[in-house]
């Protein structure tokens, strides 16, 4: 395996971190001491290499314990998993979360993304020694921060809203504030008086299974088992549910493809790597109603014949992860699950929200998207047929199984059935998570949240597009937004009033894509970089040939749309292009 170790031996702490996950090594060949039997015999090969998927969990264990990933620790992990160190280094350096240089036990990350910037994040970053972070998914209470303390009892905590004083105190080792994030609940609107997606939020203790069951939890799973898998898929198909992760693919069709795939095993992946700036719906669902996530996964696995499920939760959501882990354990303990569900922790890479990049990340590789086809329903996680659904999509499934597909489809519009969660943030009086029927005009949603003096609305996050005040009558449906060249995307709705500096917003978006491009394909790697440079020239330095630069930006955008491997590159120019045409940033 070409394992050449050059980083010196691992420390006792590092060995403990790795062995804590893998157990103590059995032989010299796995990184232990030489035993007499090692002189003439070794096992290895596939049995060892098949544990490659444990690389990210190992790296987390090392960093949680020691604050960073040293060469010695990495090489020990490589020895245990039979991975060439050069390749593992490529993995470590891919993910923003992992540190390759030693640092203090305490790390504070302050979100300086679009919404937190509006709320003064830059002042905090200027005042204290914090790392800047892209969106932490706490936009409803911006500005936000994430603090962690490495050591044998690792801790991390989301802090939002965070103040300069609080940030400074935290870095001095002060007490951390209590973690009560999803309550009190942001205002919600459930249509027709029926049970909406958010109905259990704040209605039970999210750490207790009995509370969930008292509200009818796991009845949908029982109902699904009575109906049988084919009937479940039929109802989902009749509901005409479209995926809520952003791509809006018909869920029923996806389920049917996986169910019919002959190759085994089938995998289920719940995509909870919610990283689109301005988006926090999945976080709220997981923090406040984690058992429903588990139940939704169990139904999806049952219907499509998945033998094993993974839920991949972004690293920035420690509370959501803890609650989902707890929910899985309690549901399993109560005998409610007949598949194994494993909770995986992301490592700070927006791209891993792309489904095939997410597979690679679970497999212990760099989170680089794969070419499609083949599609995940045929060749997905570990090369097997895989069902990938977003958290919100699975919540919808619970309702479909309970009420039937036809009832579900009676809400919303013909082409966009059901309700949709919108994450409203920015310059509004009541930022939060709103559930409205598909087709509701944006104007109504903005009124609910209390938006005034609107300069622009960014719909769909960084990969979405800007709307002007004249466009807010657009119906919030897939077809309605498509008609004006916009997209619902992840359901992020960021409102900017007249005070917002839209140039800074555009520059932040450009920086975001330049940072988050995985670098695998040229159009995106080079395009996002050039896009940022040109924008800088046009908006800040205000030199260069304006019309030539506009043309160049449009050429780059076209190249990225046409030739990028994945959605990141294909959409990386959308918001900026719409911003330049819709907003008055180029005037004066």
């Amino acid at each position: 395996m070409d394992i050449r170790t050059t980083g010196g031996p691992p420390t006792a702490d590092e060995v403990a971190a790795v062995d804590g996950l893998l157990g103590t090594p059995d032989s010299l060949w796995e990184g232990g001491r030489r035993r007499p039997a090692d002189d003439h015999f070794a096992r290895g090969g596939r049995a060892v290499r098949s544990q490659r998927h444990l690389l990210l969990p190992l790296l987390h264990a090392i960093q949680d314990r020691t604050g960073w990933v040293s060469r010695g620790a990495l090489e020990y992990a490589c020895r245990r998993l039979s991975i060439p160190p050069a390749e593992a280094y490529g993995v470590v350096s891919f993910y923003a979360r992992f540190a390759l240089k030693p640092r203090g036990a305490l790390t504070l990350r302050v979100c300086d993304d679009i919404v937190c910037k509006l709320a003064g994040a830059d002042e905090i970053c200027a005042a204290v020694d914090a790392e800047r972070s892209p969106c932490l998914g706490l936009c409803d209470r911006a500005p936000a921060a994430l603090v962690e303390r490495s050591g044998s009892s690792y801790e991390e905590r989301q802090i939002a809203p965070v103040t300069v004083a609080q940030a400074a105190d935290t870095l001095r080792g002060g007490e951390w504030p209590d973690q009560t994030l999803s309550t009190p609940l942001s205002p919600t609107l459930s249509p027709g008086g029926r049970g909406g997606l958010l109905r259990r939020v704040a209605a039970y203790d999210p750490e207790r299974l009995d509370g969930y069951r008292a509200l009818g939890g796991f009845a949908a799973l029982m109902r699904a088992r009575e109906m049988g898998s084919e009937a479940v898929i039929r109802e989902v198909t009749e509901a005409r549910l479209l995926g809520r992760g952003g791509a809006a693919f018909p869920t029923g069709r996806k389920w049917e493809s996986v169910a019919k795939a002959t190759e085994r095993p089938h995998y289920l992946v719940c995509n909870a790597d919610e990283s689109e700036p301005g988006t926090f719906k999945d976080r709220v669902l997981m923090e406040a109603d984690p058992f429903a996530v588990v139940e939704g996964m169990a139904i999806a696995a049952f219907a499509t014949g998945c033998e094993k499920g993974y839920i991949y939760i972004r690293a920035e959501y420690p509370l959501a992860r803890a609650r989902v882990e707890n929910a899985v354990a309690q549901a399993r303990g109560a005998g409610l699950l007949d598949i194994e569900i494993e909770v995986r922790r992301g490592a700070g890479a927006y791209i891993c929200g792309e489904e095939t990049a997410l597979f690679n990340s679970i497999e212990g590789k760099r989170g680089e998207p794969r070419n499609k086809p083949p599609f995940p329903v045929e060749v997905g996680l570990f090369g097997k047929p895989t069902l990938v659904n977003n958290v919100e999509t699975l919540f919808n499934v619970l309702n479909i199984v309970s009420e039937g597909g036809a009832a579900f489809a009676s809400v919303g519009t013909k082409d966009s059935t059901g309700t949709r969660l919108f994450c409203v943030s920015g310059h509004v009086e009541r930022p939060g998570l709103y559930e409205v029927a598909m087709g509701t005009p944006l104007r109504e949603l903005l009124a609910l949240a209390g938006a005034q003096d609107i300069q622009a609305v960014l719909l769909g996050g960084a990969a979405g597009s800007f709307l002007t005040p004249e466009q807010v009558d657009v119906p919030l449906s897939f077809e309605g937004t498509r008609a004006i060249g916009a997209t619902l995307g992840s359901g992020a709705v960021i409102v900017f009033d007249e005070t917002a500096d839209m140039k800074q917003v555009l520059l932040r978006i450009a920086r975001f894509f330049r940072d988050e491009s995985c670098g695998q394909c040229v159009p995106c790697r080079v395009g996002t970089k050039r896009q940022e440079e040109i924008l800088e020239r046009m908006l800040v330095e205000r030199n260069g040939d304006r019309s030539a630069d506009v043309m160049l930006l449009s050429d780059i955008a076209q190249a990225m749309r046409d030739a990028s491997i994945c959605g990141l590159g294909q959409t990386a120019a959308n918001a900026i292009a719409s911003g330049l045409t819709q907003l008055k940033v180029l005037n004066g």
């Binding site: 395996m1 070409d2 394992i3 010299l28 060949w29 030489r34 039997a37 090692d38 002189d39 003439h40 015999f41 070794a42 096992r43 290895g44 090969g45 596939r46 049995a47 039979s82």
Partner: protein, 541 residues
Amino acid sequence: MFGAGGGTSSYREAEETNVIILWGSNARETHPIFFHHLLRGVRSGARLIAVDPRRTSSAEWADVWLGIDVGSDIALANAMAREIIHAGLHDKEFIARATTGYEDFARCVEAYTLERAEAETGVPAAAIKEVALDFARAERGMICWTLGITEHHNATDNVLALINLGLLTGKVGRYGCGLNPLRGQNNVQGGGDMGAIPARMPGFQDLEDPAIHDKFAKAWGGAKFPDRKGWHLSEMFEAMERGELRSAYIVGENPARSEADQTRAVRLLSGLEHLVVQDIFLTQTAELAHVVLPAAAGWAESEGTVTNSERRVQRVRRALEPPAGARDDIDIISDIAQRLGSDWGNPTAEEVWDECRSLSPMHAGMAYRRLDELGGIQWPCPDESHPGTQFLHARLWKDPVEGPRAPFFAVEHDPPVDRLSEEFPIRLTTGRRLDSFNTGVQTGEYTSPLRKREALLISPEDGARLGVEDGESVRVSSRRGSVEVSVRFEPTLRPGLAFMTLHFPDQVSTNVLTIDATDPKSGTAEFKASAIRIDKLAPVS
């Protein structure tokens, strides 16, 4: 094997087999191209078993590594055969129809119990049994080997022991099955194919067969040439020792550094009455020569063909003009013929090849045009409508068998000649590294980030026992000589086992230590097994 000196399988089959036993081969480093094919097989599910005294980088890829003691290969192979027979997993129908000598073979291996094999090889009995049964049960399986099998005093017996396993389990002559010696250079196979071995004419035709001899004599205009086989390399050195061989013409070989017991080799070469060396560099052998003929490099400065380990003949084209004074091998040889009074004209590489095709039936269909079109052709290829042969010995599966049956040969374990003793307690085995080649003639000129100064690799445990530090210079002695070299700790070596290469003869004359105990059938010396002693150097006063 079975009359044809080449690996039976194609590279493609390594990608689509179920079990690969890599026996005495660190192909990861020494046959990197083949290893890529092998890895494709591994990645699509093939089980890899490595048999090697060292846990090499190839062995790190293996599902199971059997770390045998140097030179105990036959004990292992025979014990595996016994386990297979006892489990009833041998291919009885194939054995009955397509082989001979099974009864003798079965009687012979009956003595190789697991207990005995464990004692001889050091490998746990349970592991031997597991590997044996895995191989026998696999639908497809192949055995690949290199110098770990052949650089022994009983090299031929070692090879026969592996062939026996293939025959026993019916794993030869079928797609994805086979017995494959991996060839070192791009054209080791081609050298043998063209008759650069003592008993054979091109195409492995028997020189001593009067009909074959007549055919060549007629084609060469009644030329006279020996009808008895000549000496192989080790016999040549013995003949020098006796004074019978007094003149040598050495082409592209560096025996002054590559021969075991180098002190003796240099003495004998220096004592020749006339030594001609034809090479691309002034090698250590060339430095001993009376006449040096500078040659063009075979891979870039001349036209011709090479043949790889899967028997594929491929075209080589001239990309560069050779430096002034260096000439193509064909030109040099033709000129020498002229001076010796035989006018061969001034043939092109293609003309030489076409003559070969007219005399060697297995190459007959390989016109240059076809080699270009098909990207090389695997022999045998008897005529110009033949696509070449992906794997050999499919004939053994015809009913009745076409041609002669394949023979089992009962072979017995015979440990290395250079015994370990109190005086020489450490087993030295030699080998190669990824970025260097043999005596370094072709690779020494290039820098490599992987290359370190030549050192004696020993286990850290041996280092501690001997009281030497990593990097310390020591004196290494065998029964034949001694050298000074620094040690390097290598945790993949077990205590009692040491390793060196012969890549850097200018730094360390490894072959001063090795033994020239030679396999009488193949002429290969036992480079893989010397007994050595490691002594701390006396402090400089």
